[in-house]
Amino acid sequence: MSHSAIVIIGGGPAGMSAAVAAATQGLSCTIIDEGFALGGQIYRKPTNPERAPAPHPRGEQLRAEVAKLAQQIQVRNGDNVWGIFDELRVAVTSPDQHTELLQPQAVILAPGAHELVPPFPGWTLPGVMTPGAAQTLIKTMGVAPGKRVLLAGTGPFLLAVACQLVDTGVHVVAVLEASSRPAWLSLPLHGFRTPKILAEGLAYLNKLDRAHVPVRYGRIVVAAQGETELNAVEHAPVDAEWFPDNNRIETEQVDTLLVGYGFVPRVQLAQMAGCNLELRPDVGGWIPVRDRNLATSVAGIFAAGDGAGVAGSLVAALEGQLAGMAAARFLGAIDEATFTAARDPIEQELVRLKPLRRALDKISALQPGLMSLVRDDTIVCRCEEVTWREARAAVDAGSTTYRSLKMTSRAGMGACQGRFCWPFLSRLVAAEAKCSLADIGPPSARPPLGPITLGALAPQAQDK
């Protein structure tokens, strides 16, 4: 396999744009993405095109741009990056369990985000899943996640997924948006120079209205019911801090609940590489510290897109371009003047997108009431099935960091390495131990990231 100057981890809008920008400057790049095709989350490509809806045109366009540069850009789909070691060594395993250690001169991290779900009674029941999981079934195979579906959480993504469900012929019972209607109506529509994005949001609302799907503001799901699978959901109105009014619970019979309160950047590879992190709850939690050119604290490693702070696909693509150019300058393929000339328009565009994003983030910012749903016997770590009673006992006995809590209660110890539980568990711990999220820290990241088998690790990784 040929050496590439730049390894790009993630083939979403950020990773594809980074590759195109760097390859256009004559640099060789390898994009590694564990998905079946380039596209990332938003531009996921159908794996069964006869059944799935037509792919997003912007995604098709980006894939075509990458394909046009096939001389410079190598694409490795289905391969999993499970570690980054000193001096930019990237450990990657293919589906047939072949492991390689790549050694590029620069790395661009573009791993995207995953969804954010708070623990609540019943949330481990089959039938409860993220909106993105349901969307993935539809986008790739046209498979419906269930027959009667309720969506709950916050943010415009819920509306987008609800519309996709409607288009697939699924009965959407309602969308529950945690924030109040006045909060959403306070979006100063004319203050933003981003009318297209707002028009999209309004189109979602109109479509749901026509399909008689109620969007109910100021309500959250407080519990899911069922024996071996979901059959009902309890939801309640909330106050401004999202504390539910448990005297006004309504029960809805559904077989599927899609719940998502935003996104969390996937920072584990940045962490393994030794990049400094900072806590930024406004963009999803812990993110790599970056300079103006998206360089992390480790020389030669750049970070772009939702994996470096959740900001959506448009920002991800722009950041990808900037990271690609910054890597080209780092490797001496372009001079300073060329770099600045490329950076200025990208930065202007990023500045233009910012106010709307900030306003949306503010409306959807997590409120403390969401942390009030756990009961003693609620599972807080899905992998190891640790209940809040067990985790809290460990906290009360002094375990207030990821590492110590994992050792004493097993919370965060499982296959997902705390990625799913920690965003909320750390908040529960902070409240219980009366300390700050920053004190508690992110889950430590250790290779291998993801359930890699011993078999894949055993044959000594080869330098190529």
């Binding site: 564990e34 998905g35 079946f36 989350q41 159908p46 794996t47 069964n48 095109p49 006869e50 059944r51 995953h114 969804e115 481990t124 029941l125 089959p126 039938g127 409860v128 899943m129 993220t130 993105g132 999981a133 349901a134 969307q135 993935t136 079934l137 790739t140 195979m141 498979v143 419906a144 996640p145 071996t228 699978e229 077989d255 996937r266 899905r382 992998c383 190891e384 099935e385 590492r403 994992k406 050792m407 110890m413 499982g414 296959a415 997902c416 390495q417 705390g418 990625r419 799913f420 250790r446 291998p448 990231l449 993801g450 359930p451 890699i452 088998t453 011993l454 078999g455 690790l457």
Partner: protein, 91 residues
């Protein structure tokens, strides 16, 4: 075009280009495994290979993420009991 594979030893079919979880949903199954500690059923949760709720035994390999694996002809998929621990994350 349909593909034939086995689910817990039974021969079943799904359309081409389906993930294992997609095929299970298509076939009307709602859960993909039971947990090690409490034998509770679990299913698709994040859908993108992060949460590890959908781990199954596939072609003899333990703890494979069913949501990011495409069904292949003759594939052997076993739901069984999946401890979601693997080699990941030893303290």
């Amino acid at each position: 075009m349909e593909i034939e594979f086995t689910l817990d030893g039974q021969t079943v079919r799904c359309p081409q280009g389906f993930t294992v979880t997609g095929a299970l949903f298509h076939l009307g199954h709602r859960s993909v495994r039971v947990t090690a500690r409490t034998a509770a059923p679990r299913s698709l949760f994040c859908g993108i290979g992060v949460c590890c709720d959908c781990l199954m035994q596939i072609d003899g390999r333990e703890s494979v993420r069913a949501c990011t694996t495409l069904v292949q002809p003759g594939m052997r998929v076993v739901s069984g009991q999946g401890a979601a621990a693997v080699v990941a994350n030893q303290a």
